[in-house]
């Protein structure tokens, strides 16, 4: 057994074994992937297979820095596709898993927690007003959220209405179940922070960043108040049909995006749950254009907003200032009504003029300050907000009828499928006109629009049959450089009367106010 022959034979067999093993080892290496199997120093085998350039979101979320699993979860240590894709999140940022993805403790935990209080997540104002209009609640305020509505075991007529017509924009609704208007947008964080694939290139990982372009806002915000359409100067001429051209907002004409005005607290929330949109929005016209009164103006170093403080730190504030790249600690900084700074509003150190930096392309725009001239100090107009005069128009419709057809079929965003029953909206006489005026509980006069003038025939859904005429505060997003004419208020036919305000304490002009408006003499100026 231990003769030379046996030795030679065994040696040959062993060499053959080593050769075969070598081949198998080479095949193994190819099968596991060509790329590195680690991202940012951590073992993550996703990047062994996902090596294509088109699978990299780039930027701050580049694959080389974060790998895949930081956002997409899954099993990073597995070798087979099936096991690697266990518990995969195809839609990172979706609210159901956000605490594991974008909102993980070492990334955007604070932002994710704030988003839970954002009106875009809660839609509490929408729910409250809808239930009020349907006669299901006594006040247009409430804390019921869209998530509650979507989970209601036995939906009321208003809840069903919301589920079918509004649930598709709710931030918690997953991509596959979203409204057609925003098809392709993810849910949760990725609703806004993931760019849609507009370049038509197939299967390219979209970039993930904070430069939120308008197309990600417009899908949802073109309904109801139509602000996305109005901002661009578009008017619906027939329901969901081609648009007529009106004058676009002066800010849009200057190339400004939604995020150039709206603060992060306006959009993502600030940790406090509020019911109505206008309670959430912190930015004011005066923050940029002055005169400074609501939020105030402080030195950059005295800004209290946590996120801005972090930006200050991250930009290595002082070092950059020394190189002349950042703003000095004493740079005047304008704030929104709750103290969040308008970060892209700067005062040139060389002059005293303010400039606004467009966030998407970095273009600098001069920001005109409100002059203290005759037009802005008119006696009797102290209670008017900027937009009461500068909002040029609002879209209007002559009639609006909502009914329920039990025989119809319509998508139900709660069920994620088409179910029997359909809400039918009929409206006619689309046009545009200078906005009505309303009075806020604090006495300020603001633009207003019929916030739900409708015949609701919800009898077939177990609801009421009612005609509602509610007046709602509106920021039409149709700002003009020139204010509306004096005649558009003082020589117009008297404003119609409304049953109630779509907000507690909000009302139209009362008889005395209407009389004063109509009786004003215009020849004084």
């Amino acid at each position: 057994m231990f003769r030379t022959f046996a030795f030679v034979a065994a040696l040959c067999a062993a060499l053959l074994g080593l050769l075969t093993g070598w081949g198998r080892e080479a095949r193994r290496e190819r099968a596991v992937g060509l790329g590195p199997d680690r991202a940012s120093g951590r073992l993550e085998r996703c990047v062994s297979c996902h090596t294509k350039e088109s699978e990299d979101p780039g930027g701050a979320h580049a694959r080389a820095a974060l790998g895949c699993a930081s956002c997409h979860l899954g099993n990073t240590l597995a070798f087979s596709k099936e096991r690697a894709h266990e518990r995969l999140e195809r839609e990172p940022g979706a609210l159901s898993t956000v605490a594991l993805t974008c909102g993980r403790p070492d990334c955007h935990a604070r932002e994710a927690a704030r988003v839970a209080t954002s009106p875009m997540t809660r839609n509490a104002g929408m729910v409250a007003v809808d239930r009020f209009a349907f006669g299901e609640s006594a006040s247009p305020d409430g804390t019921e959220t869209m998530a509650d509505v979507l989970a209601a075991p036995r939906p009321t007529a208003a809840q069903d209405h919301l589920r079918r017509l509004c649930g598709g924009c709710h931030l918690g609704t997953r991509r596959a179940n979203r409204d057609d208007l925003i098809h392709g947008n993810g849910s949760g964080c990725s609703s806004c922070h993931v760019a849609r694939r507009l370049d038509g290139k197939p299967r390219r990982h979209p970039p993930v960043d904070s430069r939120v372009a308008d197309d990600r806002c417009f899908g949802c915000h073109s309904g109801s108040g139509r602000i996305a359409l109005s901002y661009q100067g578009l008017v619906e001429v027939e329901k969901n049909k081609p648009h007529a051209r009106a004058t676009p907002d002066v800010h849009q004409a200057a190339g400004m995006a939604c995020i150039d005005c709206h603060l992060h607290t306006d959009l993502m929330g600030d940790g406090t749950a509020r019911t109505h949109k206008e309670e959430q929005v912190e930015v004011t016209c005066e923050a940029c254009h002055g005169p400074v009164r609501v939020g105030g103006e402080v030195a950059w170093l005295d800004v209290k907003d946590e996120i801005s403080i972090e930006i200050r730190k991250r930009e290595d504030f002082l070092r950059k200032v020394k190189r002349g790249e950042g703003r000095p600690p004493d740079a005047p900084t304008r704030l929104g009504s709750r103290g969040t700074p308008v970060l892209n509003l700067l005062r040139k150190s060389s002059s005293s003029s303010w400039i606004l930096v467009r966030k998407l392309d970095g273009v600098e725009l001069p920001v005109k300050q409100t002059p203290r001239d005759r037009n802005h100090t008119l006696r009797g107009h102290e209670r008017l907000t900027c937009s009461a005069c500068h909002a040029a128009w609002v879209p209007t419709c002559g009639s609006c009828h909502t009914s329920f057809d039990p025989a119809g079929k319509q998508w139900d965003f709660a069920a994620g499928k088409e179910t029997s029953g359909a809400w039918i909206e009929k409206s006619e006489g689309f046009s545009w006109a200078p906005p009505l005026l309303g009075v806020r509980p604090d006495g300020h006069i603001v633009p207003a629009a019929p916030g739900m003038i409708l015949d609701v025939d919800a009898t077939a859904a177990g609801g009421a049959n009612a005609v509602r005429r509610l007046l709602a505060p509106a920021e039409p997003h149709t700002t003009g450089k020139r204010a509306r004419t004096c005649e558009s208020c003082h020589r117009a036919s008297p404003q119609p009367e409304f049953e109630a305000g779509a907000r507690t304490g909000f009302r139209g002009l009362n008889a005395a106010e209407r009389k004063r408006v109509a009786g004003a003499k215009l020849d004084r100026h």
Binding site: E25, R28, L77
Partner: protein
């Protein structure tokens, strides 16, 4: 009594050599194996580690060869009637080497942590529990008290059983280490097998396959358990050990009877093995 050359045609030496290769390759696998995540660590060894599959196959095939050469060695010893070269105590301990080797192999099989391994673990426990008097305690001694826990199995496999194997083998061979030729030949054969014959990864523990096969050396037992009560699981091995032990004490006619019983046992075992292979093929 003078020793007249190797009484076994060298299978004994070779077996010791394979044991050495098996222990060495086993030690090399230790840093990559985790009993708490057995299947996952095996998957990593198999696919994620450079030459990991080779190392694992080397360990498996050298261990298989320990048993195979040991059985051939026993056959040759019985054929050459050289059992009396060992004192009775050493003989009995050498006979016990056989079940210890099988237990070590079964441990290795179970440590794979795949669907077959977890089934084997459960069967092993139930068979031990069917031992009289202290069945449950003996089961816990070898397998721990938590069902599905591979920790105790791993420690016995790499510790207790390996120590026993080495002690008894060394005592049997009269030397602490295997000889150079035996080890080299064993290593060459193991390398050849490990490179040429792949050792695939089993189904994940969550899978529910229609048929499961135990370790190759225990297929006869698996088949027997389909029709015989579960205590056959310990009666059959005990029977073989007693018969082999008795060979040393019997002579003449008695020895012939014992050898015939051993042959009968082997024939039955072969029958059951073939029966299982045929049935699961069909």
């Amino acid at each position: 009594m003078p020793r007249a050359g190797p009484p076994s045609g060298g299978f004994g030496r070779l077996s010791f050599g394979f044991l050495a290769v098996s222990v060495l390759s086993g030690v090399l696998l230790v840093p990559f194996y985790s009993p708490a995540a057995a299947w996952d660590s095996l998957e990593r060894i198999q696919a994620g580690l450079a030459w990991g599959f080779f190392l694992r196959a080397l360990h498996a095939y050298s261990s298989f060869a320990v048993l195979a050469t040991m059985v051939l060695h026993v056959v040759q010893v019985l054929a050459a009637k050289t059992e009396r070269q060992l004192p009775p105590g050493v003989w009995w301990r050498s006979v016990v080497l056989l079940p210890v080797t099988v237990a070590a192999l079964l441990g290795g099989f179970v440590l794979r942590g795949d669907a077959e391994a977890m089934a084997a673990l459960s069967i092993w426990r139930r068979i031990l529990e069917s031992l009289p008097l202290a069945g449950a305690e003996i089961a816990r001694l070898f397998l721990g008290s938590v069902p599905g826990d591979l920790g105790p199995v791993a420690l016995h496999h790499a510790g207790t059983l390996t120590l026993l194997l080495w002690f008894f083998t060394a005592e049997h061979a009269g030397r602490l280490l295997p000889d150079a030729r035996g080890t080299t030949l064993a290593a060459l054969v193991s390398v050849a097998l490990a490179g040429i014959v792949p050792m695939p990864l089993g189904a994940p523990p969550s899978a529910s396959p229609v048929h499961l096969l135990g370790p190759w050396s225990l297929l006869g037992l698996q088949s027997a358990l389909e029709i015989l009560p579960r205590w056959i699981g310990w009666i059959a091995p005990l029977e073989l050990v007693l018969l082999l032990g008795l060979v040393r004490h019997a002579s003449g006619r008695a020895r012939q009877v014992v050898i015939a019983l051993i042959a009968l046992w082997a024939a039955e075992y072969a029958f059951f093995t073939v029966r299982l292979l045929l049935s699961s093929r069909g």
